[in-house]
Symmetry: C2
Subunit: 468 residues, 2 copies
């Protein structure tokens, strides 16, 4: 566990006043160019010092020949040099009292014995010098709330509460791209790389306390420190949601994971068993991870486990019911009074069977009628969360206004599934997100979102029980 | 099995010269309005006759008081009346020699005994009269190649080779929306509804012979006629790919399926066992079904099962490898000569481990270099299909030109995974699709696409073996 001082130190590295980009470069295909550009275009408000022995000016900024000649405080050094020169730059950081470094280069533990030796030296340097070192072998890190984009993939992301800890830069980018498609706001993004100094558990501990982080998603290939990860995740669940996507269900990717970040991934089944034992919510795919953090970052928690589904088209609701049941979640019946009230809206003998999922078919597709039925359904005493399914139609709008009015009047969470293209629902996704309603365009994702609201609720209760 | 005459008859219904919309309406919230609008806006080139006892003109067309007063040949009647009036309209069709009807209304077998009796009468009428009857309780059907959009969800779809048979209108719409997002061309779309007259097997038999259909996707809740479905699917696999998404893995949705289209869904495990026995390719989700038909409709079939992965970022390739391995597909090694040739491009001692997935990291991300390595990888004698993974970057383009040049020179299929938002890759998706390269924005989907190319290849070999 990190000490209070270390946590404060780590927070300062995520919120620097000044950054040196060591190995800044003027060639757009170089990491050192992209890092600098990413930081500048990201809108970072502090001072930025490009460092390179020969260049004079890059992207309009004067270049310093070395870290030493900057002559001012530097809070964070982002090092875009090769694996050997990175070691020298880290030594420079220590000499100059620089407290944080992001080391981009690969060529360490993941390539075998020679690299392992280099990595051990890097680790010793950082530990002995009390340096916060992220990486090596990482795409970098992001803190949108500090307009800090220290990766070599220049991006701009909407600010929000979702933070990611990822063992893969590429998967981490895929998560961010999917969040962009979903209109989801991001807080921190950390590419852990080879974790020479800081482990998953350390980052989790930090994000657990980070005020701008409301939910944490983790992409995990493997770690030797699984026990620490799980225990920290369980503690974190007392404060905020954590969802882990552990790749490797097939048992066939251990070699690839080893050569990726130098980690023996270990048996997937063992991970799953220990996650289950500590009730750590897990996702089975990247799509499920994003669906989960979407629901958890937007919706309030349900007070109980009763899921009601309302739809005007049976199939997508059946898929939702199936996905929920695969995760051990079954739908309660609506109360007879609820069904009675629905009949008062759609007629006493509707040519549909009223149960849960509540499928009102052609009788309930007009938004005002749909809204009235949704309000009845969410009012059912056995229903703690309502899923509203609706299909895009050329001649009428989505029932967004109606659902948002219900949301205003009810404490129960609402999740929407609008069958649509991504662009067809974009405006509604934005409106719903702003008011705490996660809106998905597929039934699977909507079911995953609901499952994870319930999973966090149970996990937190479990964690509280263990804490006593 | 349908006779040759019945098949010809069914084909005529999918390619009508004239359509009557019975129950056409001038109110935009009515099914009868939306059906007529859908047919007109879809660009249908034949004659269209709205039928309604009181209206005079709808959407600029003169309205006929009854089917009888049209006084001209009608090839297809689309009936948007309630469950009882539908029966009368079907009797009118038979009297007037109309050979095809789409019956939209629900209120039949799916609502219990009273509805079952009505449905039996509908069935008897159609069978005795030799009427092709689609439905009842269906969203309708589409044949893009006849500009025929006889559903009450007006849409325009790009023409192509993908046909769907769906037991749910809503899920069927979700499939089409996802295909729109993926830039995928559609041929036929059939909402089977309660299947009073025509079964899954009948539609499969028809699409197997349909020249504009190159691949068939099926969404299945359940059918009493599973044996016929499976045997027909197995025969169809001799001609073209079929992929079935059977919902219900949880075992919890039988009741919902029963009240949806009046079908006892039956045990999911029994379905899976019989699908496996006949080697019918199955999808586990709507996303997998679309990923499958995308690959199968665009790419040539691989000559063998050797999958090569090329990437400049490890994580997504590990996800692909994991998804493939979960389906029993493992990656072969690249030949030593291949690795040697790659080293000639990126240097003799690269700080990366060269295996499969082949991760060239920062050494191979520039499109021209990436293209050279891709060409080496696809040339490996043990590789039958190459998956190329690439991440969207602000400062360089995707290696689309390079990959398409390779595609021109190689018979082996190529599948691309560009980590990106949907809009970020839209132009490349379109270019790649035009040249037979399925391009996905997630690693999971790319893996599913590859799996289904290989699954169809094996299934076809198996089906040929059984046929002798």
């Amino acid at each position: 566990m990190l000490s209070r001082d270390q946590l404060k130190h780590l927070d300062a590295v995520f919120n620097p006043q000044s950054i040196a980009v060591v190995g800044a470069n003027d060639q757009p295909e170089k990491v050192g160019y992209n890092l600098l550009q990413s930081i500048l275009e990201g809108g970072f408000q502090g001072r930025v010092y490009p460092v390179h022995p020969r260049h004079r000016e890059i992207l309009g900024l004067p270049v310093f020949q070395s870290l030493a000649v900057i002559g001012k405080t530097v809070d964070l050094a982002v090092i875009a040099l090769n694996e050997r020169s990175t070691l020298e730059a880290v030594q420079d950081c220590l000499r100059l009292g620089i407290k944080g470094a992001v080391c981009i280069a690969g060529g360490y533990g993941e390539i075998g014995p020679a690299g392992q030796e280099l990595e051990a030296r890097l680790q010793d340097l950082a530990r002995d010098g009390g340096l916060i070192l992220i990486g090596p072998n990482t795409l970098g890190m992001i803190n949108t709330h500090a307009a800090l984009y220290s990766t070599f993939y220049p991006l701009r992301l909407p600010r929000g509460g979702v933070s990611f800890i990822t063992q893969s830069g590429g998967v981490g980018l895929a998560l961010l791209q999917k969040c962009l498609d979903e209109g989801l706001g991001i807080s921190k993004w950390i590419g852990v790389g080879n974790r020479a100094v800081l482990e998953f558990a350390d980052y989790l501990q930090y994000l657990a306390e980070d005020e701008t982080t409301t939910v944490i998603g983790v992409f995990l290939e493997g770690t030797e420190d699984a026990r620490n990860l799980v225990q920290t995740a369980a503690r974190t669940l007392l404060r905020k949601p954590v969802v882990i996507y552990k790749v490797g269900g097939s048992g066939a990717v251990e070699d690839s994971a080893l050569t990726h970040t130098g980690t023996l991934a270990g048996s997937h089944r063992v991970y799953m068993d220990i996650f289950r034992q500590f009730e750590i919510p897990t996702a089975g795919s990247l799509g499920e991870l994003v669906a989960a953090v979407k629901a958890l970052s937007l919706a309030p928690l349900p007070a109980g486990g009763g899921v009601g589904i309302l739809t005007h088209t049976a199939g997508p609701a059946i898929i939702m019911q199936d996905e929920l049941a695969r995760r051990g979640r079954f739908l309660p019946r609506y109360a007879p009074e609820t069904i009675q009230k629905v009949k008062e809206v759609i007629g006493p003998n509707p040519p549909v069977v009223l149960r849960n999922p509540l499928d009102v078919a052609g009788l309930g597709f007009l938004p005002p009628v749909y809204g009235r039925i949704a309000e009845i359904a969410i009012g059912d005493p056995g229903i703690d969360i309502l899923a509203a399914v609706y299909c895009l139609h050329r001649n009428w709008r989505f029932p967004t206004e109606e659902l948002l009015r219900i949301k205003e009047r009810s404490d129960k969470p609402l999740v929407a599934c609008y069958i649509s293209t991504l662009s067809g629902a974009a405006r509604d996704v934005e409106m719903m997100s702003r008011h705490g309603v996660p809106l998905y365009i597929t039934a699977e994702e909507a079911a995953w979102g609901i499952h994870h609201l319930l999973a966090f609720r149970s996990a937190r209760i479990g964690a509280m029980g263990r804490e006593g």
